[in-house]
């Protein structure tokens, strides 16, 4: 008897290389300025789900993402790695969502899937950096959660129980929970498998062509997506039965008031020559002003 697993993944701007240009004046992110990637932790979450699928025959892995049309890239990538079904949750009305509105939309989408056993999230997305969406979604679904999981230790489909190892400050906890439960997976143990070449051949046309993996706010022709509905579905606000007021900006209590780029303060650096004398002089200064000694 297989399990029904749901994995939540996010396409994120690659925050390793951000310039001031990446923010619009209204405080929203100009994602077009950054290359878009599969959120790193979410690859670990997908791997965790795929490993469960390998141990329990008949298990189905469903991958959901909420985002602009170009986010279909992470769904294709999930198919290449072994997902069975994917859905893009996309609607203009989702735009500007904070974590509360995001978790509400994800909850509605999960409920559309119907009965499920486990929900896998990444621990944290590298753009918003909040790690809030997982727990918020669990609360909205009324289910238990285990966060910051490094490893699923065991899973018992008959008893409907999972045992997970969770990292805490200075150590770990081994936690047991019944189904359904939401787990967030960190980057400590799971090594994401690469996309399978065979699956790439099978699914490479499984979606409309995006735009080379960069974010693009323009909306795709949904008719084109519908042709491949068996593996990638497009769900809008009506499909998932979501209340418009609880989505997007209107459903978001937090507002970005101000954004500042972090600027290196290169004030009065004193360059010290690499000689015994110069270093002794520096040490002398530091002792004199009570920094050392």
């Amino acid at each position: 008897m297989g399990l029904n697993l749901i994995v939540l993944v996010k396409q994120v701007p690659d925050t390793q290389n951000i310039t001031g240009e990446a923010m619009k004046e209204d405080g929203t992110v100009n994602r077009a300025a950054l290359p878009a990637i599969f959120n790193p932790d979410d690859l670990h979450a997908l791997e965790a789900a795929l490993e469960v699928k390998e141990t329990i025959p008949g298990t189905k892995v469903n991958v959901l993402t909420m985002g602009p049309p170009s986010a279909v890239q992470v769904l294709k990538d999930s198919l290449y790695r072994g997902a069975d079904f994917t859905a893009l949750i996309s609607d203009r009305k989702f735009a500007g969502a904070d974590t509360l509105a995001t978790s509400y939309a994800l909850k509605c989408a999960i409920e559309k899937i119907g009965a499920y056993d486990l929900v896998f999230c990444g621990r944290q997305a590298i753009d918003g950096d909040t790690a809030q969406v997982g727990p918020q979604t669990a609360e909205k679904l009324g289910i238990n959660q285990i966060t910051n999981v490094s490893m699923i230790e065991s899973i018992d489909p008959k008893k409907k129980e999972v045992v997970a190892r969770r990292s805490i400050e200075g150590g770990f906890e081994i936690v047991k929970s019944g189904f359904p439960v939401l787990v967030t997976i960190n980057d400590e143990e799971y090594i994401p498998r690469p996309p399978s070449v065979i699956r790439m051949m099978t699914y490479k046309n499984a979606s409309v062509e995006g735009n080379g993996g960069t974010y693009d706010e323009s909306y795709m022709n949904s008719a084109q997506v519908k042709r491949n509905q068996d593996v990638i579905s497009l769900w809008d606000i009506a499909t998932i039965n979501a209340d418009v007021e609880s989505c997007g900006l209107s459903g978001s209590p937090t507002k970005v008031k101000k954004i500042e780029s972090v600027i290196l303060k290169s004030e009065d650096i004193k360059m010290i020559e690499n000689t015994g004398d110069a270093i002794a002089q520096m040490v002398h200064e530091l002792i004199a002003d009570h920094t050392l000694g």
Binding site: D127, T130, N274
Partner: protein
């Protein structure tokens, strides 16, 4: 005495010991509450922890709501959420603060989701100010200041329309106030009845080691990066630290390379430090590293690459091989003593 409109702190305890970040938050809550002319409330959940309350009054908490039960000894999300939601609904605080710890980041979002209020993650500063939005003006709103985008930007977030305004706050960034033994508070035990379904998580095993490395308390930190080259060569870093009476820090790359254990890591995903002196040896100064040490009063950078970004925040820069510079440093310090 009512805690309506108060600034409330979730007081985290681990194995019966109140976490340091909770004391930092009570100190900060006191500041905010004085500006807003309201009280500071705390919520302490656990088993046999009542006696801890006495230790917290001197930092400025007026009233602690206490919930005790055997099954609450260790944090699990479902019962803790239920308790916090109930207390928040009854007490109507205007602000609720949580440490941005594994526990706080597990609990805060569940409460926010239940109450349908905002939650700002991992704040490094909190201020009170006014906010104009469309035609509305909001007075005395909490400015929640946090890094995002991997530390590349600092965002000020507000949630003016709904109460409470909630935030998780990074450990080690708020200063602990000077305790005032004259300050008195009170404990209000809150009775709760639980059913088995309130405890869906069972902790089978729990292993936690008290930190042997005290980076936060250190006045001087000598930190090594990939430039140190090997685990064996970290001895040089230890030698300098030992000479100066300093603690040893490291970059994540040095930790990942196995040169040193993770509890030494400084930075966004390690410890945030603000010592009197931070000596960065063979560390390039990536934004995630700087996020944890740029508030140090003095920074010395030792690096072979004159273009390394660490020099842009350093007060003293030495371009050179650390294998050559550190022995000179040790010699110079010993000579001065």
């Amino acid at each position: 005495m009512s805690s309506k409109n108060s600034v409330m702190v979730f007081i985290q305890q681990d194995d019966g010991i109140v976490s340091e970040v909770s004391v930092e938050l009570i100190s900060k809550a006191r500041d905010l509450a004085d500006k807003l002319k309201v009280k500071v409330a705390g919520v302490l959940i656990g088993d046999g922890v009542a006696k801890k309350c006495e230790d917290l009054y001197p930092y400025g908490v007026d009233e602690i709501f206490l919930v005790e039960d055997k099954r609450l000894a260790h944090y699990t999300p479902v019962p803790y959420t239920k308790i916090m939601v109930d207390i928040i609904k009854k007490q109507s605080p205007q602000i609720v603060l949580y440490g941005a710890t594994t526990t706080g980041r597990d609990l805060g979002p569940r409460i926010a989701s239940n109450l349908k209020v905002g939650l700002t993650a991992d704040c490094t500063d909190l201020q009170i100010g006014d906010y104009k939005f469309k035609d509305s003006e909001y007075k005395d709103i909490l400015y929640q200041i946090r890094p995002a985008f991997g530390g590349n930007i600092i965002a000020t977030i507000v949630a003016p329309e709904k109460k409470p305004q909630m935030a998780t706050v990074r450990e080690g960034v708020m200063k602990v106030g000077t305790p005032n033994p004259g300050l008195k508070g009170k404990v209000t035990p809150v009775p709760f009845t639980f059913s088995d379904s309130d405890f869906p998580s069972e902790i089978l095993k729990r292993l936690r080691e008290e930190k042997l490395v005290d980076l936060k308390g250190a006045q001087v930190i000598v930190a090594g990066g990939i430039g140190v080259g090997s685990k064996e060569n970290f001895k040089l870093i230890y030698d300098l630290a030992h000479t100066l009476g300093a603690e040893v820090g490291a970059s994540r790359a040095a930790v990942d390379a196995g040169f040193i254990s993770k509890d030494h890591q400084v930075g966004q995903t390690g410890t945030t430090v603000r010592p009197k002196l931070y000596i960065a040896c063979g560390i390039s100064g990536a934004i995630q590293h700087r996020a944890g040490m740029s508030e140090s009063a003095r920074i010395i950078a030792i690096n072979t690459d004159a273009e390394a970004p660490i020099f842009q925040i350093a007060h003293y820069g030495i371009v050179g091989d650390l294998n050559d510079v550190i022995p000179k440093f040790i010699k110079a310090f010993k000579a001065k003593q």
